[in-house]
């Protein structure tokens, strides 16, 4: 029963999360902390903070945390499946419909202009992330290395992630960090 209510609660959170990220906090607060009392506000913020700096989608990470806390590993799985369930249904519907209308000139025009908007949104996301991400000279150098190499060479992002994780440890241990 607990697994089912975890699934349903997080499906609700999934439907109401529009765009993810910080938009999710008030919804989690209401559903998880106030309605279900599965975690305190402090715990929720802890989970969210750790969910941000572990691999994967933040919403999924936070759901796994709370589900695990409530009902162990099975709870983690149930909550996570719940949070992605609405996405799968809604996107399949929309993608199915869009495929049928993709050749209509008006739809093509709309998406050509929407692509412009997406570029602006990506740019804004980068500007917003910049402050928290690049804090010193060494950070700037890492940014430039990854930016230039990934732009001009066909290297998997996995390679950069592994390299920078290692670089972070080396730069911290050698005291280069913070200068």
């Amino acid at each position: 029963m607990k697994l089912l209510s975890l699934f349903l609660s997080f499906a609700k959170v999934g439907v109401m999360t529009f765009g993810g990220g910080y938009a999710m906090i008030p919804i989690l607060e209401r559903e998880i902390v106030e309605n279900r009392k599965w975690a305190s506000s402090e715990e929720l913020m802890d989970y969210y903070a750790v969910g941000q700096c572990t691999p994967g989608v933040i919403a999924v990470n936070t759901a796994t945390f709370i589900g695990y806390k409530v009902a162990g590993p099975a709870g983690g799985v149930a909550a996570t499946l719940g949070v992605v369930f609405p996405s799968v249904v809604i996107i399949c519907l929309i993608a199915g419909i869009l495929t049928n209308f993709a050749d209509i000139p008006a739809v093509k025009s709309a998406f050509t202009a929407i692509r412009v908007c997406v570029c602006v949104l990506i740019f804004n996301a980068v500007v917003k992330l910049w402050k928290g991400a690049v804090k010193d000279k060494a950070g700037l150098v890492l940014f430039l290395i990854v930016f230039v190499l990934s732009l001009f060479f066909d290297i998997s992002p996995v390679v950069f992630v592994l390299f920078c994780a290692l670089a972070g440890v080396v730069l911290t241990r050698t005291g280069v960090r913070g200068k």
Binding site: G14, G56, A59, V88, I91, S109, A113, R115, C117, L129
Partner: protein, 191 residues
């Protein structure tokens, strides 16, 4: 077989994309280049739909790519692939949450990962911008730089940039508002 490959590709994405929804973008870009499952222009469309529909962006993008590649089974498999590493990693971390939060090594790793994540997103964004603002099919003969650029698109970008960054009450609006506005402009001015 394609389902297995989808699962594996998204498992890798879930394992290495750090820093939220947009962080999956460079992985999807890389996937598009290597597998040819979808074009880079389609990728921009998928981002738009993922931003304008309920659900976390990263999950929506995985579902969309999966659906484009192998229908509904593809959508399910791609999404499961994306969330598998999260489930495993978070359950492991939940047992040692306190140590994890206070670990100096974890902190050092993320000190290196943050600039990496933002650089990857910026580079992938620039590549999406290239398909959007440059005429790919411009005639190669008679180099005319003016024909290389797509002026209508650039103008719209400039307007959107001002609206989303500098106009105080508009800045806080949800991206879906600007996506809808762009769609209307596109239809009205026959982009």
């Amino acid at each position: 077989m394609i389902l297995l490959r989808l699962f594996w590709e998204f498992f890798k994405t879930g394992l290495f994309a750090v820093g939220g929804g947009m962080a999956t973008l460079p992985f999807l870009y890389d996937m598009s280049a290597r597998t040819g499952w979808f074009t880079q222009a389609r990728l921009a469309d998928m981002i738009a739909v993922s931003e304008s529909t309920p659900g976390p962006i990263g999950v929506n993008m995985a579902t969309y790519v999966g659906f484009e590649t192998a229908g509904i089974p593809g959508a399910v498999v791609a999404t499961l692939g994306l969330i598998c590493p999260s489930i495993i990693i978070i359950i492991l971390i939940a047992r040692v949450l306190k140590q994890f939060r206070e670990s100096k090594t974890v902190d050092a790793v993320f000190y290196g990962l943050r600039p990496c994540s933002i650089a990857l997103i910026a580079a992938a964004g620039l590549l999406v911008a290239r398909v959007t603002f440059l005429n790919q099919d411009a005639p190669a003969a008679g180099f005319n730089p003016a024909e290389l650029l797509r002026w209508k698109e650039l103008l719209l970008a400039a307007v959107l940039l001002v609206l989303t960054r500098f106009v105080e009450p508009l800045k806080k609006l949800h991206p879906v508002v600007f996506i809808a506005l762009s769609a209307a402009v596109g239809i009205l001015f026959a982009f």
